[in-house]
């Protein structure tokens, strides 16, 4: 087995993070500056992975993601989640690698993304089967407002059993009409209650979304939306 001591690995992490600012600037235009971890946090996260070759692979994944403009925070969080859940190191590596791929896809589809949390929300939706084209459509409808909450509610609905295509369509309609984040979250909670009471998830969505749509106006054209600047949430 190849033995790699921790110290060189950490040094490589620190070196990788040293260029984080440059990487952020290379991210999609308009992306918010992604808060980076302290060096010790990253080192700690990787130190929790017991297998040295896996640590090396994780570092390579993180470096590669950084070089492509993918936010590092969600990847480090995923490492910590795997460590906390006492997962097999190879499983942690797989999860981080897959997440990096989803984050990159989401970052491209949501460009210009507002924050790493928006990109994370997009990656979460992708994990539940939402296609990247849906994220692009959402961004086109809402170029000046963050999509973190709509994507989170979309993910919740799909996890609750609503067919992904139906959920995507209804959320898109609501985003187009400028539904406020709190309204979307309330709708999601009501759908969840309906599902618990035995109503089919798709039917619950249809019923609840109609109720919300009735409260909203006509679809808002992207040009008519207030021009919030990324990072001014």
């Amino acid at each position: 087995m190849i033995r790699v001591s921790l110290q060189p690995v950490c040094r490589r992490v620190l070196a990788a993070l040293a260029c984080a600012a440059a990487v952020v600037h290379a991210a999609p235009a308009g992306a918010q500056s992604v808060p980076q971890r302290s060096q010790s946090q990253v080192a700690d996260a990787l130190e929790g992975v017991g297998d040295a070759p896996v640590r090396t692979a994780l570092l390579a994944t993180i470096e590669s993601a950084q070089s492509r403009g993918v936010p590092v925070d969600p990847l480090i969080t995923k490492v910590r989640e795997g460590v906390a859940k006492q997962s097999d190191p190879s499983r942690i590596s797989d999860a981080v690698r897959q997440l990096a791929g989803r984050l990159e896809t989401a970052a491209q589809a949501l460009a210009p993304a507002f924050s790493s949390s928006e990109i994370s929300a997009g990656a979460g939706a992708l994990q539940h089967g939402v296609p990247a084209s849906t994220l692009r459509a959402y961004r086109a409808l809402s170029p000046s407002a963050p999509l973190t909450v709509p994507l989170g509610v979309l993910t919740e609905m799909i996890a609750d059993g609503v067919p992904p295509k139906l959920a995507s369509t209804r959320i898109r309609e609501l985003v187009a009409r400028g539904a406020a984040p709190a309204l979307l979250i309330d709708m999601g909670a009501k759908i969840r209650s309906d599902v618990i009471r035995g109503i089919a998830p798709g039917v619950a969505l249809e019923l609840r979304s109609k109720g919300v749509i009735s409260l909203l106006g006509s679809p808002v054209s992207p040009a008519a939306q207030p021009q919030l600047r990324p990072g001014k949430r």
């Binding site: 946090q41 996260a45 480090i76 969080t77 995923k78 910590r80 989640e81 795997g82 460590v83 906390a84 859940k85 997962s87 499983r91 942690i92 797989d94 999860a95 897959q98 949390s117 994370s120 929300a121 979460g124 539940h128 973190t148 909450v149 994507l151 989170g152 509610v153 993910t155 919740e156 996890a159 609750d160 406020a180 984040p181 709190a182 979307l184 979250i185 999601g188 969840r192 209650s193 618990i196 009471r197 035995g198 949430r233």
Partner: protein, 431 residues
């Protein structure tokens, strides 16, 4: 024959509950009083009981097995006019051996549904020390489907069971014609409701059997020619579970249907106390109606047993004594009553996530969230439940909770999703 205990083989774990494996040993004593009408007089029998079992409880598949032995000294003979009865004939030291296997399946995509299959084989009248008695065997199997749902601290469900058994009895000292085989089929339907520490259930069972020694010993009879006895039971059970103590009371009402006349009522109570994480004391007292499926006669029983367990999940030694085969308490849903969460928005922005876990005072309840970088953080015990209050900023967050180092689970009340590491986590979206 006094087969008195078939201790727990498996306990349900609904979605989100920890997976675990455990080995358990039950050892105890029981005093059984059989009110048999075929006997000269009721007698009290002391029995020693020993059960050894193992079980694996998983998210989707659970399985377990148990070997149980009962050692009985039978002081009196039954009335020889009844032929092979349901009790041992000569005064002898006899025993019963029982093997049970139980499996349960809960689809990952539909955790509100659970199906159980069980098979139990019993050999009774096992002579010891060269002595022999009325012997026989029983084989029984069941299939059960149950639906459950939980909303906040309330959970409930319904269950349907189909079971069949075959019982054979023989008297080694009698003629070959004394060997008889009886059959029984049973259908059961019931429901349960649980709120925090309280559980109520009601079960209706209909059993068709031709086991005339057993049924008539229980005071029931046919009033016109019929192919089988029709025995109908309603069992209402209430239970409370507070800290280390679990109490349960059951009331059973039996009546004959169709051509069957007669009936009976029974009340029994049971209690279990978790002495430590590994040891629990279980005591029961009350009437047991004749069990047509397992060929067990009606009796009044008092028993006490000590359970020792190795391994296991967060529920500690609080596992109640359950019989493998019906009639008996329905399997209760646990997800909603275990760990739950509620989100409260803060006007200034963000939200407060409150997690509550019902677990013994000395349990270690930990949570991790994407917000705190999955740093396992211990919840505090407020005298009633373990509580954690977490400030969450706007965004999408994930949260998992574990009890006593078990599997990470999603609290009830949140949308659940599988994590990449074999557990579950809850989703929280904060505006």
């Amino acid at each position: 024959m006094a087969l008195v205990l078939a201790p727990a083989a498996l306990r349900a774990q609904r979605g989100g509950s920890p997976s675990y494996s455990e080995l358990f040993v039950d050892a105890g004593m029981a005093r059984v009083r059989q009110e048999s009408r075929t006997a000269r007089a009721p007698d009290a029998t002391d029995a020693g009981t020993l059960g050894v079992g193992a079980q694996r409880v998983g998210r989707t598949i659970s399985y377990g097995g148990e070997l149980a032995a009962t050692l009985v000294r039978e002081p009196e003979a039954v009335d020889p006019r009844t032929g092979p009865g349901v009790r041992a004939s000569p005064s002898a030291l006899t025993g019963a051996l029982q093997a049970a296997a139980l499996g349960a399946f809960t689809p990952a995509a539909a955790e509100w549904f659970r199906t159980d299959v069980a098979a139990v084989g019993t050999r009774f009248g096992v002579g010891l020390g060269g002595l022999s008695a009325v012997g026989g065997s029983n084989r029984a199997g069941l299939w059960r489907g149950s639906l459950s749902r939980g909303v906040g601290p309330v959970s409930g469900g319904v269950s349907g069971t189909v079971a069949a058994s075959s019982t054979s009895r023989s008297n080694p000292s009698g003629p070959p014609s004394a060997d008889l085989r009886f059959r029984a089929t049973s259908t059961e339907f019931g429901g349960w409701l649980s709120h925090r520490w309280l559980t109520l259930s009601i079960v209706r069972t209909r059993t068709l059997t031709d086991d005339y020694p057993l049924v008539e010993a229980a005071g029931m009879r046919l009033i016109r020619p019929a192919g089988s006895y029709d025995v109908r039971d309603v069992v209402v059970t209430g239970g409370v579970r507070v800290q280390r103590i679990a109490l349960q009371a059951a009331f059973s009402r039996r009546a004959g249907g169709s051509a069957t006349a007669g009936g009976a009522r029974a009340r029994n109570v049971s209690a279990s106390v978790a002495l430590t994480r590994s040891f629990a004391l279980v005591a029961t007292h009350g009437d047991l109606l004749a069990d047509m499926l397992r060929g067990v006669p009606q009796s009044r029983m008092s028993s006490v047993a000590l359970r020792w367990r190795v391994g296991g999940g967060a529920s500690g030694g609080m596992r109640a004594n359950q019989r493998v085969l019906s009639p008996g308490p329905l399997v209760e849903g646990e997800r909603a009553g275990g760990v739950r969460a509620a989100v409260e928005r803060v006007p200034a922005g963000g939200a407060v996530l409150t997690i509550e876990a019902t677990a013994p005072r000395d349990a270690v309840v930990e949570y991790g969230t994407s917000q705190n970088d999955w740093m396992p953080t211990r919840a505090t015990f407020d005298g009633r439940v373990h509580v954690a209050r977490i400030d969450l900023p706007s965004g999408v967050h994930r949260v998992s909770v574990r009890v006593n180092g078990g599997t990470w689970q999603a609290p009830a009340g949140l949308v659940r999703e599988r994590d990449e590491f074999g557990g579950w986590r809850g989703l929280v979206v904060v505006p």
